[in-house]
């Protein structure tokens, strides 16, 4: 269902490698399963031809990898960015996390990526192979000789269902159109939670967060979490703990993590994508984004390089913390 094909990407990457524009390529490589695509650095055309993968499971946001990879190359590194990835790219540039000169960005169109957990919900476990077939996805499992055909639209990842922008906000070269910011309903779920009573909200989050196993995948995948040393790994921060010591730790972890990325989170959805427990972590980040939009005016992190994040800014007329709750009776 992706408009762009693997061959187009490989040929573009090979061209840039061969003509010396870049010295390596940050792309998707084959993992253990078809749906298990791994970010990989390709150094030669041959490696590209052998190992490069592009399918409906190439959701990984490469921006974050540039923090460590860009400085390691002698020349430029080629990175393939989907529209939503470019926002993270800009946000990282705003925070001086890598050198723009070391990166060559090829913007690629994205029709939305599939969520393997949704596939598994339909087909069950034991997936042997997955392949795209027009608007459908063919899934072969251990338990069935014939591939199961499912509609790609039915297994679209949540973040793609609620895609906020098809616009590339940063690129050196585009394969396809620049695209446009689109209307989305991404705050609907947050609003639904807000409309609940406090007890209901508590029950909702208790149910969700109780599944957290503190694997730190959300943090490790988040392009806003690029700290040299995370406060949760730092014995002097006072909140250090790599695994939960008591029942409160997960919530503290998720609140602090969401707070630390508030105003910097571009809503790329990596946290929820990588969560092995399927906790809707993006709903925490979106709450901050929605609040910030409502309190201080619309703000999209990463829209441009050099923007001042809302929580490191102020006006003398900002609303008072107490007024936050006076904005509507349904919020009680």
């Amino acid at each position: 269902m992706q408009k762009i094909t693997r061959d187009q990407l490989v040929s573009k990457a090979s061209e840039l490698l061969s003509n010396g524009t870049v010295c390596c390529v940050l792309g998707w490589g084959m993992g253990e399963f078809d749906y298990d695509v791994t970010p990989t650095v390709f150094n030669t055309v041959e490696e590209l031809n052998n190992g490069f993968v592009f399918n409906d499971f190439c959701g990984a946001n490469f921006s974050k990898y540039l923090v460590s990879k860009a400085a390691k190359c002698d020349g430029k590194i080629l990175v393939l960015l989907k529209p939503c990835d470019t926002y993270s790219f800009n946000q990282l540039l705003t925070e001086h996390r890598f050198d723009r000169e070391k990166v060559y960005v090829v913007g690629i169109p994205c029709e939305g990526m599939a969520d393997v957990s949704k596939v598994k919900a339909i087909c069950g476990e034991g997936i042997l192979a997955i392949s795209s077939n027009g608007d459908n996805i063919n899934v072969t499992t251990l338990y069935d000789e014939n591939p199961i055909v499912i509609n790609a639209a039915d297994v679209l990842a949540e973040r793609c269902v609620n895609c906020k922008s098809k616009k590339h906000v940063a690129y050196d070269e585009l394969l396809g159109d620049e695209g446009e910011v689109i209307e989305s309903n991404r705050f609907d779920e947050v609003a639904r939670l807000e409309a609940m009573s406090a007890d209901e909200r508590f029950a909702f989050w208790q149910n969700e967060l109780s599944r957290c196993i503190r694997c730190n995948a959300c943090r490790d995948a988040c392009p806003a979490c690029t700290c040299e040393k995370c406060v949760f790994d730092n014995p002097n921060s006072g909140v250090e703990n790599k695994s939960p010591a008591n029942s409160f730790e997960e919530k503290l972890f998720h609140i602090i993590r969401a707070y630390h990325v508030a105003g910097r989170c571009t809503d790329c959805g990596e946290c929820s994508r990588v969560c092995p427990q399927n906790i809707p972590l993006h709903l925490l980040n979106r709450k901050f984004i929605k609040d910030i939009n409502e309190f201080y005016g619309d703000y999209q992190a990463g829209e441009e390089v050099g923007m001042r994040a809302p929580l490191v800014n102020y006006t003398t007329e900002d609303l008072e913390p107490g007024e936050v709750f006076d904005r509507g009776a349904d919020n009680a």
């Binding site: 406090a198 909200r201 208790q206 919530k251 508030a262 609040d291 913390p321």
Partner: protein
């Protein structure tokens, strides 16, 4: 037999220049407020890290209040403006997680407002006491 009255534990972060001085003034004027309120001195309300607040809740505080200079009067010119944004965002998030919003508060208390300090603390302590013990922040993970 005397019924053991529930006493909440309240942590108050006060900025050194206005609110801590306001608390001192409340003392000078012998304006009583519950001993449940324990004050931690910080140079400016903007020194209060959300981690401190969550840590207090984690360790059993029932309410946390942050006091700073009135907006525009910050000793450091802009610190309390940042506090205002940070706490608005954080408190809204805690509310979103279902934690009673009455457990958190930001109040601007000047060095001259001893009476306001005492009144604020009385009111806050009463509100928190009426909510009872803080359980939600502690047991969010463990389903009963």
């Amino acid at each position: 037999m005397q019924v053991n009255e529930y006493k909440p534990l309240i942590v108050a972060f006060c900025c050194n220049w206005c609110s801590y001085a306001g608390a001192d003034l409340a003392g000078n004027n012998r304006l009583a407020y519950p001993a449940d309120v324990k004050i931690i001195r910080v140079p400016c309300s903007c020194r209060v890290n959300p981690m401190f607040i969550l840590r207090a809740f984690q360790r059993g505080a029932d309410g946390v209040i942050i006091c700073g200079c009135h907006p525009g009067d910050c000793h450091y010119t802009s610190g309390n403006y940042y506090t205002r944004r940070r706490m608005a965002a954080l408190f809204s998030m805690l509310d979103y997680l279902g934690i009673e919003k009455e457990r958190t508060r930001v109040e601007w208390v000047s060095a001259a407002e001893g009476a306001k300090f005492a009144a604020t603390m009385n009111d806050f302590a009463k509100t928190v006491a009426s909510l009872g013990e803080n359980k939600r922040l502690e047991d969010l993970r463990c389903k009963k």
